[in-house]
């Protein structure tokens, strides 16, 4: 099948999975045109946000893999998860009444800036990754210290639900910013597709083909961090989506980024919408954090990728 046709299939699959995710819930099946409070207020905005978060994480994964030239890179490398966790936990400890999302996004951005600062000099993906591991480790320990010293047991409960990822119950108005960010992200990354293809051939080849490598890398890194911060702010840490979705898309349309970006975004959306539906109904009336569902899928995929090794 042609790559363009796969993107079309992806759109249809996304719509079908989204509609099914709206129809099913812990209280049973409801038709999507039965637009009651249950569907309109509790399920539909949640499913839409799940799709946006999945798209953002998947595109961030594509961008990060291109920047680091490593198929095993995901949006949370470079200390992003550690920074987001530290920011969120600090926010929950200091201002328990506020949503931890903005602080998490700030923590993630700060961590990447710190990693980039520590790994300054000639561009070296390995150096960046190692700096990311070190910064992530320090921030993880800071998170642990806050959790141990914070007196309120509520902090632990809030933090647990946040660290494992959860879409929550957003209002429609909360979807505007993520929707704009995802649309802009898809448009910008798709516009850079040819340059990204050349970058994957190596910096020297890309420069010889007229690509401003430093500028492109910086742009991709900013896009990856912005999309990840957006996803983290909306839903906490949802693991492996940025790894699984690009790989699933790559198997269907190959390496060229023109279609890979769009199909990855659709695959990410479908994955998180589906995972969130499973999280809602698997142990109903209890609800699982959606990150646990995506991680249970992502673990085996990650191991499979490790077997294949970096490209």
């Amino acid at each position: 099948m042609r790559p363009g046709a796969w993107v079309l299939v992806g759109v249809v699959a996304c719509v079908v999975i989204g509609a099914l995710a709206i129809c099913v819930g812990s209280t049973g099946w409801r038709s999507p045109w039965q637009w009651t409070g249950m569907i309109a207020e509790l399920r539909a905005p949640r499913v839409v946000l799940a799709g946006l978060v999945g798209s953002a994480l998947a595109m961030a994964g594509v961008a990060m893999q291109a920047v680091l030239r490593n198929d095993l890179a995901d949006p949370y490398v470079l200390g992003i998860s550690g920074g987001a966790s530290a920011g969120a936990v600090a926010s929950l400890a200091l201002w328990p009444g506020l949503a931890p999302g903005p602080a998490a996004a700030a923590g993630a951005t700060g961590a990447v800036l710190l990693v980039r600062g520590l790994a300054r000099g000639p561009y070296d993906p390995a150096r960046l990754l190692l700096a990311g591991v070190a910064v992530g480790s320090v921030l993880a320990s800071a998170t642990g210290v806050i959790l141990v010293l914070a007196p309120s047991s509520q902090l632990l409960r809030s933090t647990t639900s946040w660290l494992f990822g959860g879409i929550g119950t957003p209002h429609w108005s909360a979807l505007v910013a993520p929707a704009i960010a995802v649309v802009v992200g898809v448009a910008w990354l798709t516009a850079q597709a040819t340059r990204i293809d050349r970058l994957t051939l190596g910096a020297d080849v890309a420069e010889a083909l007229g690509v401003a490598v430093v500028r492109l890398r910086r742009g991709l890194l900013i896009a990856a961090v912005a999309l990840t911060a957006l996803a983290v702010a909306a839903s906490g840490l949802i693991g492996f989506v940025g790894l699984i979705a690009p790989h699933a898309a790559r198997r269907l349309v190959g390496q060229p980024h023109r279609h890979l970006i769009a199909l990855s975004a659709l695959a990410g959306a479908a994955l998180v919408m589906g995972a969130d539906a499973v999280a809602r109904i698997a142990f109903a009336p209890r609800e699982l954090p959606v990150g646990l569902v995506t991680a249970s899928l992502g673990g085996p995929v990650f191991l499979w990728q490790l077997q294949r090794g970096p490209r």
């Binding site: 819930g25 812990s26 209280t27 047991s153 409960r157 959860g166 809602r280």
Partner: protein, 286 residues
Amino acid sequence: MAVPHRLAILVSVAIACSGACSGSTPAPDSTVRIVSLHDVTTEIVVALGATDRLAGVAEPVDIDGKAAAAIARVPRVGDLESILAVRPAIVVGLAVVAAQDPDLVARLRDAGVTVHLGDPATLDDVYRLVRDVGERIAAAPAGEALAAQLAAQAGAPETPGPPVHDGHRTRVFVYDCCDPPFTAGRRTVLNDLIARAGGDNVFADLNAAWTHVSWEEVVARRPELVVIHAYKYEGQGDAADKERAVRAISALAALRTVVIPLGCSLGGLRSLDGLARLRAAIGARA
């Protein structure tokens, strides 16, 4: 809070009377050195009149004001070293202590210290805990008296209005925190308090203590009263934020709420205050 203070005074008076008036309650054994690792057991030990035997207490998190004043000069303990340093004969607390640090409990027992950890899930368990702590700290008569006092108070019709209206039991949803909501299942003291107050916890079918559920399930179970589980005993604490979170769901926006502080739901002396608050809220139903 007036109610727990009244309760503490009543309990103290009851214990004092049973000892001083009838002469049937001997003073607790003054040689027993006690360490309490939880606010609930600290309050019980203080109410049993054994404050002077407290060799150490865990740093209080949410403790009754009277008990807080009584233990102001008691050394704070936490890790194994600090506990053993005060040479306790007995360590009391709740099961959560062992859940958080099972090695600590094992090492204390290895060191020859008697460790008693209660795990109250109902008011009956609370009475049992009071008796057990009394026995363990050589204050069994005081423990019996306090347990009887609590049981009598729980049964007393001290709150306005009947708990049950025409056979209808009020459906109660407990909101602790978070999105998805964290709520009380069957194995919680709050579940028992709600039932005793004439209500039904809408998640009583969950054979769990505290767990996350979905807002969708909450709405589908059509609660009539929302218990806001607040994390500060005195004052508003985080209750206002939690109430806002509940009212953001349109199907729950108009429901009545009642604030139950954490200290009332842990299975200690203040559970009676929680019961009184619930009875008042359920009894006030239109």
